[in-house]
Amino acid sequence: MPNHHILIVEDNATHRAMACEILKTMGYQVSTAGDGYAALAKLQLEPQRYDLVLMDWEMPGMNGLDTVREIRTCQIKEGWPHIPIIAFTANKQQGDSEKCLAAGMDDYIPKDLFLPKWHKTLADKITNWIKTHGANE
C-alpha cells in the first residue's frame, strides 16, 4: 500500500487526535486542520501533497460544504489537482448526503465512525476507499 497522505479537517480536538492516531497506526501520513480556513491554507501551500481529505461537515466559521466548494473552485482557477474528499456527517436530515455530493465531495461516511469503538471500521473504510478509487496517484 503506497504511503498516502491524508488531511483530516475537523474542529473537535478529541476527534481529530483520535482519527490521526488511528490512521497513523494504519501506516498513513496524516496532517490535520482545525477548520476550513486552516485546511485551505495547507492546500494553498502544497495542493499536490495530499492524497485524500477527510472533511467534517459541521464546523464553526467555514463549514465543510463551503470549504469543499472553495477547494473545487481553486482546482479550476488555480490548477490544483483533483483532491478526493470524503465528508463525515451525522446525516440526520433528509438530503444531507446528497448535499455533500452536490457540493463536490466524492463520498461520505457516518460521523459515528469517529467513536473509538468503530475505529477499526473507520480505518478499513478509508483503506478500501483508497484501494477502490486510487486517491491521488
Binding site: N12, T14, H15, A17, M18, E21, P116
Partner: protein, 130 residues
C-alpha cells in the same frame, strides 16, 4: 463535589478504547479535554446570560461530541439537550436572541451540566493520575 460517581455516567469500554488508540498520548488528550470542558462551560453560561443561541450552540456541540468520544455519557447527554434547544431556536428564528421557549430548558439544565463537568473531570483526574 461527589466522591461517589455513578458508574453509568461513563461508558468505560469506550474510554478504554480511546486509551488503546491514543496510548501514551492519552493523558495529554485528557488534560486538554478537561481544560476545554471548563472553557465550553463558561462560554455556555455566558451565552445563556446573553441569550445568545449561536454561542450556546457552538460550545455545547463540541462539549457533547468530545464527551461522547470518551464515553462520558451523562455529560454528553446533558450537553446534547442544551445543543438541541439552542439549535432549535436558530432553526426557527432569524434573531440569535433566544426565546424563552428555548432558553428555559438551557437554564434548567445548567446545574446538572456543571455537576456533570465536575464529576467527569474528577473521575478522569483520579483514574488516570493527571
Amino acid at each position: 463535589m461527589s466522591n461517589c460517581i455513578p458508574a453509568d455516567d461513563f461508558d468505560l469500554d469506550m474510554l478504554q478504547d480511546a486509551h488503546d488508540i491514543m496510548k501514551d498520548k492519552f493523558p495529554d488528550m485528557l488534560r486538554a479535554y478537561i481544560e476545554d470542558c471548563q472553557t465550553y462551560l463558561e462560554q455556555i453560561k455566558l451565552g445563556i446570560q446573553d441569550k445568545n443561541a449561536d454561542m450556546v450552540a457552538q460550545n455545547s456541540h463540541p462539549l457533547k461530541s468530545s464527551s461522547a468520544s470518551l464515553g462520558i455519557e451523562k455529560l454528553a447527554n446533558i450537553a446534547k439537550k442544551i445543543e438541541t434547544s439552542s439549535k432549535a431556536h436558530l432553526q426557527t428564528s432569524l434573531s440569535p436572541d433566544m426565546d424563552d421557549m428555548y432558553l428555559t430548558p438551557c437554564i434548567d439544565a445548567m446545574p446538572e451540566l456543571e455537576k456533570a463537568v465536575d464529576d467527569a473531570c474528577l473521575f478522569l483526574t483520579k483514574t488516570y493520575n493527571l
